[in-house]
Symmetry: C2
Subunit: 430 residues, 2 copies
């Protein structure tokens, strides 16, 4: 190891030791204290908006000088709107119920003991993210409310913004009499810090990466602690043989075109043979109007060929298309025989994110719900609803495409665990 890496490693271990100690204080913090910290943070973000913008200018200027593109600059910028949203989100998290200490499932057992569960924080989580500095506040506010400590590792291009935001978080924690080490930022931009953060199970209980697929795959492969990870969103819309065509067109259009870049946008359209002649020309006209490229199986291509304006947007689908998350005005289109073939196709090519069936047939709806092995399965609704806020979680730290621990949109509950509690009156075991 180089000297630089050595000192980075020592720095991250120090953050880990402090986080572990702070997590004890956070675990027993009163709800009122946690909410006080969140409201103080919201007030400080508003009051210090000028200073936050000044820190952000350093990052923005450096990124511009480095020739980073407009989309990147947009994510990096702490605009007035983003600053207002950060303050609001702290207030929203303060208004959520406190999950910690919740006791459930208490039952008296034949032995006389009462057994139940108590919800507790996970402990310490590490958040690894890219250019958006507002993630610093999102992760900090969810850590505070859920009684966890967090170590934040944001993108090096946002380091000045993140330092300014983390300083406010520390002040807010102190103001509420909570340990300031509950939220710490990795202050170095040395890449070795990530390697250290994901390999110290004694200090970090779980890693939540947000970013591109290659970043998340690398972290998952190298981590020695659990990772709440979100890879592709290759979401499917299946239009069944029995369906309200009007509704199917509206939902398919919404799922694909309402926004192209989110992970819950549809990427693949499956149509039951019996509905193809009625449905495909109608959705094809919508896609043609919106310039959505269609990568088709031979039969669907034949049905779409005559749609005005569509011909130029049609391509033959390759095997690879069925597995592809485009995040763009492109959709793959395939005619399937029935709900069986649809379920088999989704389970084979999908990414276990979100898939929806559009149908009027109850038995088909129930089979799709039960048998499609994805984090979220829908009936007659747009895949775009797959989101922590739309689901009523009140917050979202990420989306998990794993089955273990947290699945689908992850809110405060995903940052907690349940321990067993036993209440007795001196019972002994025979």
């Amino acid at each position: 190891m180089s000297l630089a890496t050595d000192s980075t490693h020592a720095l991250v271990v120090d953050l880990g030791v402090r986080a572990r100690a702070a997590s004890r204080g956070m675990a027993r913090a009163r709800t009122a204290a946690k909410n006080d910290a969140l409201l103080a943070l919201a007030a400080m973000i508003r009051a210090q908006a000028d200073d936050l913008r000044a820190a952000n200018v350093h990052d923005v200027d450096a990124a511009r000088a480095a020739g980073l593109d407009a989309a990147f600059m947009d994510r990096l910028m702490l605009s007035d709107k983003v600053i207002a949203q950060m303050a609001q989100s702290c207030e929203q998290v303060a208004a959520l119920p406190d999950p910690i200490g919740e006791m459930t499932d208490l039952r008296r057992r034949p032995s006389g003991i009462t057994v139940g569960r108590m919800r507790v924080p996970l402990g310490v989580f590490g958040m690894i993210y890219e250019s958006r500095p507002n993630v610093t506040i999102e992760a900090a506010s969810l850590a505070i409310k859920s009684g966890n400590a967090v170590i934040l590792r944001g993108g090096s291009e946002a380091i000045h913004s993140n330092r300014a935001l983390a300083a406010l978080v520390a002040l807010a924690l102190v103001e509420a009499d909570l340990p300031p080490d509950a939220v710490q930022l990795v202050s170095t931009t040395d890449r070795a810090a990530v390697g250290a953060l994901i390999t110290m199970p004694q200090y970090v209980d779980v890693i939540i990466p947000r970013g591109g697929k290659s970043l998340i795959e690398r972290i998952s492969a190298e981590a020695r602690v659990p990772v709440i990870k979100h890879l592709d969103g290759n979401c499917h819309v299946y239009v069944d043989a029995e369906v309200d065509l009007e509704m199917a067109v509206a939902v398919t259009d919404n799922a694909k075109t309402q926004r192209y870049s989110p992970c819950n946008a549809a990427e693949s359209l499956l149509v039951a043979g019996a509905s193809a002649a009625g449905f495909l020309p109608r959705i094809g006209a919508v896609f043609a109007h919106k310039h959505v490229e269609m990568r088709c199986c031979p039969q669907s291509r034949a049905l779409l060929q005559a749609v005005p304006g569509a011909a130029a947007l049609l391509r033959d689908a390759t095997e690879e298309d069925w597995s592809t998350e485009y995040l763009a005005p492109i959709i793959s289109v395939k005619i399937v025989q029935d709900v069986d073939e649809a379920i088999a196709h989704v389970n084979r090519y999908g990414s276990q994110h979100t898939d929806t069936i559009l149908t009027t047939n109850h038995a088909h709806a129930m089979r799709f719900l039960r048998e499609v092995d994805s984090a979220t399965v829908m009936v007659n609704a747009s895949t775009r609803f797959s989101d922590g806020f739309e689901f009523g979680l009140g917050a979202e730290i990420g989306i998990s495409t794993d089955k273990f621990h947290a699945r689908g949109p992850v809110g405060l509950e995903g940052l907690t665990s349940q321990k067993w509690m036993v209440l007795g009156e001196g019972e002994i075991r025979n």
Copy 2:
């Protein structure tokens, strides 16, 4: 890789492919079919008891020839009692409610969609265990009921017994019209099979090892899939300053001496200073009578010195004793100032398994419950109750000392996941 290892790897991959395929059929299996398989298996175990004993004799003879000890032989032996228990346990699992398909938390959202959760199988799990062949039936029956497929890797010393048992499981699955590949045994005793099994996330969703600490540590370090692991049970009894001494003696005695080898037996006794003079001589007399060695802090040793028969059993505790799981008639004893010091001691030296407070003070009980960071925390009950059957899970596949996914005793629910379900009527997102 040697040729042997190459062929073992290919064999395990083949098991994985078959298990993944069978898991689809198991996930949609009806409850009645799963119960039919379990009842058929119970009947076959009873009907084929002679053949099972004959297969077991091969293993027992080989183990005896290899000079393995009596405890090992005891675990390996398929006695009439063990055979009867295996059959009964299949019937008990059949009688449990089916967790799969359970829909919970359904709520209407402002958008109009109804959001809820559906319980589903994890998919495929790998079970790695040592000499007890009855684990083959326990794991198979829990896999069947929870709609999972399982790949079993038992100890090589039990290979003939395990093959005979696995053959019955396959027959029972076929009789119930379920895929026989849902329960497969690794038929080779090549150690490379374990390495293959724990590193194929495409086929195996979770690994459950049962065995010694070194086995579990090695599997955890090398696995590329989640591991439901159980390391030490360094369980504490804390006798508070305000306590019913009679009850405290009975519970402490039970926690330590009812059985010495289980992981939920107490290994460390903490006593509040105010209770020490009243409590220690009484429990010391019990331990002296049962020949339990006491590894003491200086103050507790002074109080125990005069107890008749105790002096020869007293030792000075070293720093290492506070972290040690003895699984033997030995206990560490320490006087602490108050509940604060007790909680800090348990969180520092404990193994996050099971810890109990004995107290009449409600505030102390609640603080201990909330702040001790263990899988199971008790008030006025023996640590020996920390068990899936005592908790009412109806079955236990293992105990987890992790916080992620399953914590504490793991029953059928630990072999499941919850996916999100959305029921709509054509809603689209604005």
